[in-house]
């Protein structure tokens, strides 16, 4: 029988990463993700892995760049301001088509912002974050169990497609404690890495990790090639969960922690006879747009801990075929189920 333990979200990521074969973690502390670094600092030396606290976020992401280039499973984590610092390095890693996993436990912004939970880094995560034409695979868990599951998935997917993957959580997902069973997470699936800069032993031509191309046409060709890969990912990797959508007059779209609030709101609305349903994107990039063509509500409502970021993807996904509304709290404030219920009632009054 599998054994459940009680863990903080941040710890569960650490344990899932270790079980997924990650032996190289480069950290830099920032609230509210520090427990992940702390867990790795305790565990890695015991299993022959590397935990290194870098001198800065910029250094940490470039250590990941180096480790990923050498073909090992590497990881770093931070929270919003730290992710901004890592963005340059992430762009390089994406440009070099290297796999790695980056965790962002989002806190209030912009600027130094705050330490309470937020979802205001959606644009940054789903549009790449740094400079240039690139994407990250972005996974958004809504429980500690799913955090563990998606961490394992992130390593596998990142290696399969050679695209850096990001776990996009928020402070509360990282800090809250829930039971987790590590027997339920995917096994590591290791890809062949003929490109790895891990020593030729004098037996082959050397590999070079490069992101600089002197001829514009050569760079364009690389970007075109990568875009073809992104198209495959867009087609194959859309993940979501939905409930109560079949007869729904209104469908509430939310991800991560907010989806737990929405789940409660939908229960309240249904108990009052209001036909509300919910879609929860699990992959934020690629956005699960297909499901939006299969449902037929009178309106959508995007609920976020931001000023309205995912709502733009909802509008694109449904081609604005019905009104798309928005409700959000930000700055570290979590929307309450009651607030969502009231917003739905307001919208339905307008629609009818």
């Amino acid at each position: 029988m599998s054994e459940k333990v009680l863990m903080k979200g941040n710890e569960a990521i650490g344990e899932a990463a270790i079980r997924s074969g990650c032996r190289h973690f480069f950290g830099y502390p920032i609230t509210p993700q520090t427990e992940l670094s702390a867990y790795m600092a305790k565990k890695m030396p015991k299993i022959g892995g590397v935990f290194l606290q870098a001198e800065s976020e910029v250094a940490a992401i470039n250590m990941v760049y180096g480790a990923a280039s050498a073909g090992v499973r590497a990881m770093t984590s931070s929270s919003s301001p730290g992710i901004s610092l890592k963005s340059e390095g992430l762009s390089y890693i994406a440009a070099a088509d290297l796999p790695c996993v980056v965790v962002n436990m989002v806190r209030g912004g912009p600027g130094l912002g705050g330490i309470q939970p937020a979802q205001s880094d959606y644009f940054q995560a789903t549009r790449g974050g740094g400079h240039g034409d690139y994407h990250l695979i972005v996974l958004a868990p809504n429980s500690v169990q799913e955090l563990a599951y998606l961490t394992a998935e992130a390593f596998n997917l990142s290696e399969e497609y050679r695209i850096p993957a990001m776990i996009l959580g928020d402070g509360t997902i990282g800090q809250m404690m829930e039971p987790v069973d590590f027997d339920l997470i995917p096994e590591p699936v290791y890809a062949q890495k003929p490109w790895a800069t891990n020593g030729t032993e004098g037996k082959r031509e050397k590999n070079v990790t490069e992101t600089l191309f002197l001829e514009p046409s050569e760079l364009e060709e690389r970007v075109f090639e990568r875009e073809k890969k992104y198209d495959v990912v867009r087609e194959n990797l859309q993940r979501y969960k939905s409930h109560d959508t079949d007869d729904a007059d209104i469908i509430i779209v939310s991800y991560g922690l907010t989806s737990r609030v929405v789940e409660t709101a939908v229960k309240i609305l249904r108990s009052e006879g209001i036909k509300a349903g919910a879609i929860r994107p699990i992959t934020l990039w690629p956005f699960p747009e297909k499901v939006f063509k299969e449902v037929h509500p009178k309106a959508f409502l995007s609920v976020e801990m931001s000023m309205g970021q995912m709502v733009e993807d909802v509008k694109l996904a449904c081609d604005c075929s019905v009104p798309v509304h928005f409700f959000g709290r930000t700055g570290g404030v979590i929307p309450t189920p009651d607030e969502v219920v009231n917003k739905v009632k307001e919208i339905l009054k307008e629609v009818e």
């Binding site: 459940k4 333990v5 009680l6 863990m7 903080k8 710890e11 344990e15 609230t31 509210p32 427990e35 305790k42 209030g108 912002g113 705050g114 330490i115 309470q116 402070g171 509360t172 800090q175 809250m176 404690m177 829930e178 039971p179 922690l257 737990r260 609030v261 789940e263 409660t264 309240i268 700055g331 570290g332 979590i334 309450t336 189920p337 009651d338």
Partner: protein, 226 residues
């Protein structure tokens, strides 16, 4: 309710995530209901989330004084002790409860008050949850105990078994690894004074442990709960 009410100070310490805050809150509310004058100190200098201060409304409703640093639950990550902390060593409270941050990191700041605790008498309760990773065996707990006692320069006086699995805790969870806790008790030479849990966690408590039952309510709700 406590048969050891002679000491004024009750310090709850242990591994982070062992449930110290909920145990301390329940302890405060029980004593208040028993007619005691109670103050609780949010002494968490480590964790800005899910802390005593999040239950400030419940404490206020129950007439329990909360001593907490001004920045708790704000957007400032300020690991300081409350400014008015010294007032609890010169108060007319019957009971003062310290909810200490996790691990030795959280206990470090306690040490500076050792002389006051020792002069006025204290209990330091070791809150343990064997369902937490890194603290599953008696040996794990001994390592944690030594680190906390070295950091705080105080000694544990008894054990509060708070073994739980959050929302899937059932009647078998609490005592599922009780042998390790008994072993810990023997190694430390201190008693297991309480077995803690919500009502459904306590259904299978055997007759010989009935006196140790510490029934709890959950005071800090999740954001999606109403």
């Amino acid at each position: 309710m406590s048969n050891k009410s002679e000491n004024k100070f009750h310090i709850f310490s242990g591994h982070f995530g062992s449930g110290k805050t909920e145990v301390a809150l329940n302890f405060a509310i029980k004593l208040k209901k028993a007619g005691k004058k109670v103050t609780i100190v949010d002494f968490d200098i480590v964790n800005p989330y899910f802390r005593t201060n999040d239950a400030s409304k419940i404490l206020e409703d129950n007439g329990i004084k909360l001593v907490v640093n001004n920045y708790a639950s704000t957007n400032l990550d300020m690991p300081t002790v409350p400014l008015n902390i010294m007032s609890v060593f010169d108060s007319d409270d019957d009971v003062v409860i310290f909810d200490v941050g996790g691990d030795d990191d959280g206990a470090l700041a306690l040490g500076q008050y050792r002389q006051y605790f020792e002069k006025q008498g204290y209990y330091m309760h070791f809150v343990v949850n064997t369902k937490r990773p890194l603290t599953e065996t008696a040996e794990d707990f001994i390592e944690m105990k030594e680190r906390i006692e070295a950091a705080s320069r105080l000694k544990f006086t008894d054990i509060y078994n708070n073994t739980n699995l959050g929302n899937i805790t059932d009647e078998n969870t609490l005592l599922s690894n009780y042998d390790e806790i008994k072993k810990l008790s023997k190694l430390m030479g201190i008693p297991i004074s309480k077995n803690c849990g919500i009502k459904k966690a306590l259904l299978n408590i055997p007759e010989n442990l009935k006196d140790t039952i510490f029934e709890m309510n959950i005071n800090i709700p999740k954001p999606w709960e109403i």
